[in-house]
Amino acid sequence: MLKAKVHVFLKPSVLDPQGQAVTNSLHSLGYAAIKETRISKYIEIIFDDDDAHRVSEQVHTICDKLLANPNTEKYAFELEALKQQ
C-alpha cells in the first residue's frame, strides 16, 4: 500500500486573506518577526497498490482534475510505503 501526502497551496501571486488574519493574530501574540503566513491544504490518499510509478501518475491526474484549481493553486506530493494491515 502507498500513501500519497498531497499539499495543495495557493500560488504566490494569489492573496491569502486567511494567512493574513493568522499573521495579524501572531503579531498580536508578540511574534513580531513573522513576515507572512500562508494557509494550504494537506490531503492523504491511501492506495491499495505498491507500484509507485502508477500511483504517482494517478495522483498527478487526481490533482489536475479535482484536488487543485489550476487558476489559483499548485500542488506537491510524496509517496510513503505503508505496511499491509
Binding site: S13, V14, L15, P17, Q18, A21, L66, L67, N69, N71, T72
Partner: protein, 229 residues
C-alpha cells in the same frame, strides 16, 4: 420559455428560481444532478446553495455531476446558462467561465443588499436594459471574491465580458462598494459568445412584490425579451 433548474445535493435556491419563472407562466423543470436529460430547455439555471457542502472548493465536486456534461454540451451549442452564486462557482470550476471565486477578503459570510452596475447590455440576459443601470440585488456568499490572472482580466475587459460590477447606489464603482474584494469589482461575467452568465448576486431573490427589491425582474424580463424576438 422552457427553464430547467438543476438541483445538486446542497442546492438551496433552486425552488426560489423555479418559483420566479413558474409565476411568470414559463414551463419550469427541476432536473436532478444525476439525470442525463436537460428536458430541452431554452434556459438552464445552476442555482445558489452549497453543492456537496462546498467541500474541497465551492463547485469543485458538482462539476463531475452527470448532468454537467449535458450542461456543457448545451452551452457549447449556444444554449443560455445562468449560474447564480454557487452556480457561478460551478461554472468557473467546470471551465465554462474563466477565473475563480475565492474566499471573501473579509473572511466573512456576507448577506446583504448590494448595488451592481450593468456594464454590458448586449448579452441575452441584459439586452434592452440601459448600460450603467444600477440594480439593487442581494448577495449571500463567503466565496465571491473573483480572481483571475492579469491576462485573463485584460481579456475580460477587452472583450466586454464583465456584465456586472459592484457599485454604490449612484453607480460609482469604488473599493468601498466592493463587498468581497473581487478583482475590478466584478460581480458577474459572461463567456465569449455571451450565452453563459455567472453572477454572485441573486436576481431570483429580488423578483417578487413581497420583497424589498424587484430589480432582479429586469434580468428576467430581458431573458424573456430575448426569446420573444
Amino acid at each position: 420559455m422552457k427553464v430547467s433548474v438543476i438541483t445538486f445535493p446542497g442546492s438551496n435556491c433552486d425552488h426560489d428560481a423555479m418559483e420566479v419563472f413558474a409565476e411568470r407562466q414559463h414551463k419550469v423543470s427541476n432536473v436532478w444532478h444525476k439525470d442525463s436529460d436537460l428536458q430541452s430547455p431554452d434556459l438552464v439555471i445552476l442555482p445558489g446553495g452549497f453543492s456537496y457542502g462546498d467541500y474541497l472548493r465551492c463547485g469543485s465536486i458538482a462539476k463531475f455531476s452527470p448532468i454537467m456534461s449535458e450542461v456543457s454540451r448545451f452551452a457549447e451549442k449556444g444554449g443560455l446558462v445562468l449560474g447564480i452564486c454557487n452556480g457561478f462557482q460551478i461554472l468557473t470550476e467546470c471551465g465554462l467561465l474563466p477565473g475563480t471565486l475565492m474566499m471573501n477578503k473579509t473572511l466573512q459570510f456576507i448577506c446583504q443588499r448590494q448595488f451592481i452596475r450593468l456594464e454590458n447590455a448586449f448579452t441575452p440576459f441584459t439586452a434592452g436594459l440601459p448600460k450603467g443601470m444600477v440594480l439593487d440585488i442581494p448577495i449571500a456568499h463567503k466565496e465571491g471574491n473573483f480572481f483571475i490572472d492579469e491576462d485573463g482580466l485584460k481579456a475580460l475587459q477587452d472583450k466586454d465580458r464583465i456584465v456586472f460590477r459592484y457599485c454604490d447606489k449612484d453607480g460609482n464603482v469604488t473599493s468601498e462598494a466592493n463587498p468581497n474584494g473581487a478583482l475590478d469589482n466584478i460581480a458577474g461575467i459572461c463567456n465569449d459568445k455571451g450565452n453563459v452568465l455567472g453572477m454572485m448576486p441573486h436576481p431570483e431573490r429580488a423578483a417578487s412584490e413581497h420583497l424589498v427589491s424587484q430589480d432582479g425582474l429586469n434580468i428576467i424580463r430581458a431573458i424573456e425579451g430575448y426569446f420573444s424576438i
